[in-house]
């Protein structure tokens, strides 16, 4: 099953490699990983998407918790949460396709953030499935570049992951 593990960790050099190293050393897989400092600059927030049986996910969370740099973590998949991914898509646009791409981006609530005579860059956020759907709706030959952040997420309600 797919799990989204959200980790609050010390914003120290090497902390990221401790997490990545743990996954490779123990044979767990990482589907995606996003990381950035939080409003408290001494802390980083990492969102990690992985797959595995309940036993493996339990081991992953225990092993992550064991890392000295890890302050706290939650498995977002265990509760109501909101999940978003950011995508930047550079599309080749021949003159007669421009309207179609624009309306497609509108339908998916994307924004065109860069225009050249022959290209658009579309910015889009949403669940990974929505981004997949947009890509599937575009002619694959017209996609020059797709950049995706990997999902990040936050739990709903009053509870939160903080110190």
């Amino acid at each position: 099953m797919r799990h989204i593990i959200s980790i609050l960790m010390e914003n120290e050099s090497g902390a990221l490699s401790r997490v990545a190293g743990l996954f490779s050393a123990r044979g767990y897989n990482i589907e995606s990983l996003t990381v950035a400092p939080t409003q408290d600059p001494s802390l980083s927030r990492m969102t990690l998407v992985t797959r595995g049986s309940e036993e493996i996910i339990e081991q992953i969370t225990k092993q992550l918790n064991k890392l000295i740099d890890v302050v706290k973590l939650i498995d977002l998949a265990e509760s109501f949460h909101i999940e978003r991914e950011l995508m930047l898509l550079k599309i080749k646009t021949s003159h007669d396709m421009r309207d179609e791409i624009r309306s497609m981006a509108d339908i998916f609530r994307g924004k065109i953030i860069d225009v050249t005579p022959n290209t658009y860059i579309v910015e889009m956020t949403g669940t990974s499935e929505k981004l997949d759907a947009f890509i599937a709706a575009i002619d694959p030959d017209s996609i020059i570049e797709a950049v995706r952040s990997g999902p990040t997420g936050i739990s709903r309600g009053e509870k939160g992951l903080h110190l």
């Binding site: 050099s13 036993e55 064991k66």
Partner: protein, 578 residues
């Protein structure tokens, strides 16, 4: 007080209570060694290879319970230390390893003797630190000791760039009395509800067994374990790492369990209905094939490391906490409980266990004209009156000590269990002897293992650490040969060395006493003579039966109830294998 980084490092170790460190100098740590030279509080033991430093510090830590401290230079000094760091990591031994590093401005430029020590050691340390600011040095050292010695202990590396230790730069020094790390809070006491459940299950058991491991030694919980076991009257087995935490000569002890454990311990595990694992981690050498592991048992597991729980074997009642307070909590509940152990069921269970014990799985040929290694260990036990420190290397000889030297006290049995590091025994013995100069220290080894760190014989002379080396010389890598005999139709691929040094001469060349023992009747007098030489390191080169195997054995893919026993005693041959 203003001190340089080098002075701060030395003074911090002194203020931490460190008495001796094991190390080897080199370019990146010259400032540190200069600071060491100018003081006489902190003793430094110069080894002959950095691996020896780590094993010696490890042996010191295992015997004393205090953290072992290592100082090595950057690059090759650091990489040579890695095997010893990984050895300590696998057995949860508290150590602090200080490695020199090239100066901060040149890190990453492939400078002379530069290696990414933080990256290399990341998977085999509890934590590591790169010091980037001399004003944080003392605090970092305090943190390293705190992390290494609390919770589940382990090695911690501090990588110190050379410019941090430069004598020109001085900063105010104060060693912190306490340190806290917001992301590190080891759990000590157990969850009360879980403990209550565990006690109820334990007291309702018909065929219980206590399975305890190295965590009891590390957690200084031997006294509590003995009281717990005596109160319940249940059989107890120890892992390789747990030997000595419960007295092996006590009648409730059924021997070690696992691959080369006793028949009775493994059968009792297999047939049990309730197991309580105390500071043990269900290692694959203990469990055998997981699908066949203890099919009828409910399992209680006490461990300070939550990640050890249900890692390989799913447990029914996990208790996270230090074994000592948890056992105290349990004992209190057991004494107050209306439930009492089922004495009828227990009598039947003990009766069954006695029948398994009657198989006498550790019997060996006592009439052989060749020296049986088991006999040597039995004699060692008698000569040392069962109360000496014994270190070992890895292989057959290690298992024979575990089987034939009943340890009655914790911290007497010093061996590399998890990583299985050949070369461990000799430097570890030096570490133990430095910690306990008045006690006898024996290093039981083999002709292959001893050669992996034999250069430390020189260290033993320099620091006058008179240890007794008992080399069970079968002219083979015995355990490799045994597996090749069992699983590869005796194709002895590279498990034999054509040239083995004359160990007697080698010992003499290093300034020690060498003795060669070739007949069974010479074993006892030689051991007595060796231990009588209180102030000399003695190398006993004992020529043992080449064909001897470690029995009983659970072969790969088998369960506890499928042990391979010695077919019959008296089958020993006189043939030389090679």
């Amino acid at each position: 007080m203003e001190l340089s980084g080098a002075q701060i490092l030395v003074q911090s170790l002194i203020d931490e209570g460190v008495e001796c460190i094991f190390g080897y100098p080199g370019g990146a740590v010259l400032h540190l060694y200069d600071a060491l030279f100018q003081q006489d509080e902190l003793k430094h033991i110069l080894v002959r290879h950095e691996q020896g430093a780590t094993h010696a510090a490890d042996g010191y830590a295992r015997a004393t319970g205090k953290p072992g401290v290592v100082l090595v230079t950057s690059g090759p000094g650091a990489t040579n230390a890695v095997t010893g760091i990984a050895t300590a990591y696998m057995d949860s031994i508290p150590m602090v390893i200080i490695s020199g590093q090239v100066s901060l401005p040149v890190i990453g430029s492939d400078a002379f003797q530069e290696v990414d020590m933080i990256g290399i050691t990341r998977p085999c340390v509890k934590h590591n630190f790169l010091v980037k600011d001399v004003t944080k040095l003392a605090e970092t050292i305090k943190k390293a000791f705190y992390v290494a010695t609390t919770g589940r202990p382990g090695p911690v590396v501090i990588d110190v760039p050379k410019d941090i230790t430069a004598p020109q730069i001085t900063v105010p020094y104060k060693y912190p009395e306490k340190v806290s790390i917001r992301s590190y809070n080891p759990i000590v006491t157990g969850h009360k509800g879980q403990i209550k459940k565990a006690v109820d299950l334990l007291l309702s058991a018909k065929k219980p067994i206590i399975y305890s491991g190295g965590g009891v030694v590390l957690g200084e919980a031997s006294k509590e374990l003995i009281e717990f076991t005596h109160t319940l009257g249940y059989p107890i087995t120890n892992t390789l790492m747990g030997l000595g935490a419960y007295p092996a000569t006590d009648k409730q002890f059924v021997g070690m369990l696992g691959m080369h454990g006793t028949y009775e311990a493994n059968m009792a595990m297999h047939e049990s209905d309730v197991i309580i694992a105390i500071g043990a981690r269900f290692d694959d050498r203990v469990t055998g094939k997981l699908d066949l592991f203890c099919p009828h048992a409910k399992i209680i597991h006490i461990d300070v490391d939550p990640a050890s729980i249900s890692k390989t074997v799913k447990v029914d009642i996990p208790i996270v906490g230090d074994v000592k307070p948890v056992l105290e909590q349990m004992l209190e509940l057991i004494k107050d409980s209306k439930l009492k152990p089922d004495s009828n069921a227990l009598a039947l269970w003990w009766n069954q266990i006695r029948q398994w014990q009657a198989v006498n799985c550790l019997e060996f040929d006592r009439t052989s004209p060749l020296i049986k290694p088991q006999y040597v260990i039995e004699q060692l036990h008698e000569v040392t009156k069962g109360d000496t420190y014994v270190t070992s290397d890895v292989g057959q000889h290690q298992m024979w000590v575990a089987q034939y030297y009943p340890f009655d006290k914790p911290r007497r049995w010093i061996n590399s269990g998890g990583l299985g590091t050949m070369g461990f025994g000799l430097p570890a013995a030096i570490g133990v002897k430095l910690a306990f100069p008045e006690s006898d220290v024996a290093c039981v080894t083999g002709d292959a293992s001893i050669q992996m760190c034999i250069q430390e014989l020189s260290t033993a002379l320099q620091y006058n650490t008179p240890i007794k080396i008992i080399n069970l010389n079968n002219r083979y890598m015995g355990m490799v040969r045994q597996w090749q005999e069992f699983s590869y139709q005796s194709r002895y691929s590279h498990s034999y060395m054509d040239t083995i040094p004359e160990f007697v001469k080698l010992a003499e060349a290093y300034g020690h006493v060498g003795m060669r023992v070739t007949k069974p009747e010479e074993v006892r007098p030689a051991l007595e003579a060796a231990f009588a030489m209180k102030d000399r390191t003695v190398f006993l080169d004992v020529m043992t039966d080449q064909t001897e195997n470690v029995y009983p054995m659970i072969e790969a893919g088998k369960g506890h109830h499928e042990m391979k026993l010695r077919v019959a005693t008296g089958t020993s041959t006189d043939r030389e294998l090679a």
